[in-house]
Symmetry: C2
Subunit: 603 residues, 2 copies
């Protein structure tokens, strides 16, 4: 790579003559394709921004001038040009850079970006800050037409039109979110009218792959005064024919052969993903209940709703990156007797917290929330963990909150939710489900009923969702050490199965909750609230995520690091039993001897 | 009222000839003015929608056709025409109708509306639902130009432009939110370009007070196909000269004299409001620290920032009804070394939950959140209570959460927040502060340090913010009954003062937390998490709001109904002591005898 090998930072780039930039683009694109072929991952987005990344760093005095990228899928070229070229082969691994922008990772990452639509707000704040403090740094946001469907992007543009300070926006229009862009603006193509109506100065559109027009256009943007937009048209997957032909399918990819575009086989020997199981269950229920519709916020693939949409095209709504609207739109549907399922990742549903409270729960409308990617998500890291949902949902009146331990439970909980005459949230994790057999029909279960999975005397292990696997393993390990552990699947975080938990607490005297969620305000906290009043003598330990954000890496490592893996549970139990022996020697003995649960637990 | 007296429901209205509607408008406007003069309250908004309300109910077959109002300040005429005319004199009182739209109140209130910007989403959902179920009901949303600054309104319009179903939007353009509208769209006035760019069919503008043009325009809207907007221009306060001259000042009013417009005196003998104290404290700190700026989401009056803006006009940002952008804009400012204070009501900050997590806390940026109207707000009711904030904030890593017990503490906590190098939230209630003397200078206090306000032996009462007043009163009442209660102001909900709480728990053996907040996941839950592990023998009771939404009415009644008033606390303590005597007779005696707290508590 005769050019790229000499570029470590943008200052190296800026020493080159303009004529060289085309060569740099060529090399950088080859490099991105080679890396994609080798390791897979988010691919097509960054191929579309190679020239744009080069031109921005060439013309703006980064990092003194601030470039604010919107989400990170388009920023791999930017990472390569800002000291992280070598790291790209380890991207999203614990020992590599984040898949997104991160202030803590590089001074060139001026603003963290994992959720879409934030860049104009952040850039406007920076521009106002620069103005306030008398600086002269330039600020430019790069937002896609997909990201611009987010309401907060509109809010920021509208404020920019009012505030009038020197904020620059590159509107990177490739007609795509992850999937093809939706929304009236995308259909009409009237970007000029839109931006000008909001009070911004509009230039463009220009071809974002033609440096001969892109460079002067960006120069004009650089030297502009007032809130200014440059409309740049790019092609997702540009320069790699298979990705150009199918940018949606190549948004993210498995490793592939560069020459042929043949990708590593998609079929795994393992169980289906939770997402697939959810989609299949939803299809089965929708097949028999014509009231059921599904809503995605620009993630038809990630949520499995593309499968649902293929089956029921008139019953699937992609609203764009618009979680707030998705939820209130669902509430509107529910008032008419339709049964909407909002399938939104746990982390993205945070965007619609107020709508869940104000538009759904307060009116007790039967909207189902299917929160995929709950808990720790691995490679996508802290912007994408779904580790706050139980806390932000369980205090909302009227709302039922549940989490299945396996895909069979998932289909039954989904059937339960769609029969329930009020709002209902179901969370499930990223990755493979457990591979259990499915009952022939998804059937409602009693609301608030947990399950005693295993009888035990010394300690009650209580999990919900994915943590049930871990407590089962912990119970096995404890048995090896002569400790008899009961295993409870709470199944519902709200309402809790008070009778089941109370019986376990009263009889074991020691109870440990485990969750892949913030320990503050989470599931364990709910159990503690319940039992603290009812069985105050029971010792309780809550295992969950401590008060910190957890870095990207391997999911199993994240569980270990968070102290919610099998070994941590075992250690916690043994410590708890030791403590009980010290504190309550007289009481522990007879309890150890008794058989505390009848063999007929809850079903 | 020769016309109005014969109109109880829209069907009565629809029996009148068109020529009569002007008379109805005249009478209805007089009635609204008379009611406003008598009881005060939200006033100018509904004067602007008298003709619109009449015309909509005249031309649409309500409630079969669905009219979806955006927020309720503009809907009093609608309420009068739909069976609630008599109730308007008791509006927002416990025995009267809500100040907002409520499905549970009337079949004509098709969708609850306390937070702005929701109507298009809800209406689009209804329209899609009607289409899906094969109905032919018409759906029309009425959204103000203020409400349309909310990102979710854009999301909904953009989706409407894509979906193409028959949703109708009345864009009620009066140039105002509560305060004058902000935003580029409001400045350029290019509403046609905006709506058309999003794929909607645009008609207008028409004069919303001239029935001769309004009626045919609404008829055309009624009979339109596809997503259609009618731009209607109205005047907030129309028909009452003082309100027309100052619609901002007359948004809400005290009782007034109809003839002169003279209003009941605004000076109260009581202490200043929390809002005023906050604004004054912020001004004092900003006077000495040029880095400090303030942000409001279209509530300069409600948040007290109009005072701040008068003093520092270049350091105050009104971003419109755009809480999401407000928070990320603040994050952008913070990256530049500016110290932004987001002053947003607790209930409205729910809109920006994701931005607090993703854009502020994850990057550990020093943004201060000032949550006014925390807790129970009285007359505004369930859409406006700030009863979830501690739960949705305290699980967020990096964030400090505090609540002052009086206005002197408020100024010190604000100073603390603005010195702290990370995100910091302060909540305070609606209404009068406590009237305490202010120290000359707002000074930082140690993060996480609570205060022992009163020594006690038998029970530790722990409050935070406003509930501290209540536990002080409860301690007085308990003393009358021979019970010695310690009184602790936690001051910080996160981090908690572990040492202080642990000492109190260990020594009293009985601890009661009190909060004007959901008991699930709230302050008491946090205390329980802490002490459950550290002082498991201590009996804990958590008083807070149960799992239901609390109706509008008097704040003191709401506290009683929620069981967090003095009497409820006393009862809880006496029950707790009884229970302790039963369960642990040997342990209680010696503890009662001891003096458990040294007189030197934390400062």
């Amino acid at each position: 790579m005769p050019y790229l090998d000499h570029i470590q930072f943008p200052e190296d780039l800026r020493r080159l003559p303009r004529e060289a930039l085309g060569h740099v683009a060529k090399e950088l694109r080859s490099e991105l394709i080679a890396i994609g072929a080798e390791i897979g991952g988010h691919f097509a987005g960054s191929l579309g921004t190679v020239e744009l990344s080069i031109a921005l760093h060439y013309l703006f005095d980064t990092p003194r001038d601030r470039v604010v990228w919107d989400v990170g899928h388009q920023a791999y070229a930017h990472k390569a040009l800002t000291g992280r070229r070598a790291g790209l082969r380890r991207i999203k691994r614990a020992d590599g850079p984040s898949g997104f922008l991160r202030r803590s990772e590089s001074v060139y990452d001026t603003f963290g970006a994992g959720h879409a639509g934030t860049s104009v707000s952040a850039a406007l704040g920076m521009a106002a800050g620069v103005q306030r403090l008398g600086g002269d740094a330039r600020v430019v946001a790069v937002i896609g037409d997909g990201g611009a469907t987010a309401g907060m992007a509109f809010e920021a543009l509208n404020h920019a039109g009012e505030l009038g300070c020197n904020v620059r926006v590159v509107y990177n229009d490739n007609g795509m979110s992850i999937a093809p862009s939706v929304g009236g603006l995308s259909r009409t193509g009237r970007a000029r009218e839109y931006f000008e109506a909001l009070g911004l100065i509009y230039h463009g559109p220009v071809d974002g792959h033609d440096l001969a027009v892109l460079l002067p256009a960006l120069e004009a943007l650089r030297d502009a005064t007032g809130p200014t937009v440059l409309h740049v048209c790019t092609r997702k997957g540009h320069g790699f024919a298979p990705a150009e032909a199918d940018p949606y399918g190549w948004h993210a990819t498995k490793p592939f052969d560069v020459a042929t575009g043949a990708r590593a086989s998609g079929t795994s020997a393992g169980p289906p993903s939770w997402t697939e199981c959810f989609a299949d269950a939803l299809i089965r229920i929708a097949d028999r209940d014509a009231r059921v519709v599904a809503i995605t916020a620009a993630m038809p693939d990630g949520t499995g709703l593309d499968r649902f949409g293929a089956r029921h095209p008139d019953r699937m709504y992609d609203v764009g990156i618009a979680e707030q609207h998705a939820v209130t739109f669902a509430a509107g549907l529910a008032t008419e007797g339709v049964r909407p399922v909002c399938a939104i990742y746990s982390t993205f549903l945070q965007r619609a917290f107020d709508q869940i409270v104000h538009d759904v729960a307060l009116q007790n409308l039967p909207v189902v929330f299917a929160l995929d990617r709950a808990g720790l998500v691995g490679a996508d890291g802290p912007t994408h963990h779904g580790a706050l949902d139980l806390a932000y949902l369980r205090m909302i009146p009227n709302l039922v909150v549940a989490a299945p331990r396996d895909e069979n439970e998932l289909q039954h909980l989904l059937a339960t939710a769609l029969e329930f005459e009020g709002p209902f949230a179901i969370r499930f994790p990223r990755g493979e489900a457990r591979g259990v057999a499915l009952d022939p029909d998804p059937k409602p279960v009693p609301i608030g009923q947990g399950t005693l999975l295993r009888d035990g005397r010394d300690v009650a292990l209580v999990g919900v969702g994915k943590s049930v696997v871990e407590i089962e393993r912990a119970a096995d390990a404890l048995q090896q050490r002569g400790v008899s552990a009961a295993v409870l699947d709470a199944r519902f975080v709200k309402p809790l199965d008070a009778a089941l938990l109370e019986r376990a607490a009263r009889q074991c005297g020691l109870l440990v909750t485990v969750e892949d969620h913030a320990v503050r305000g989470g599931f364990g906290s709910a159990v503690r609230e319940l039992l603290g009043e009812r069985v105050p003598d029971c010792r309780i330990a809550n295992l969950g995520l401590d008060d910190r954000f957890i870095e990207h890496g391997d999911v199993a490592d994240q569980w270990r690091s968070a102290g919610i893996d099998t070994e941590s549970i075992v250690r916690c139990v043994l410590d708890g039993i030791d403590a009980k022996l010290v504190q309550e020697p007289v009481r522990l003995k007879p309890r150890r001897a008794a058989r505390l649960f009848s063999s007929s637990g809850s079903p």
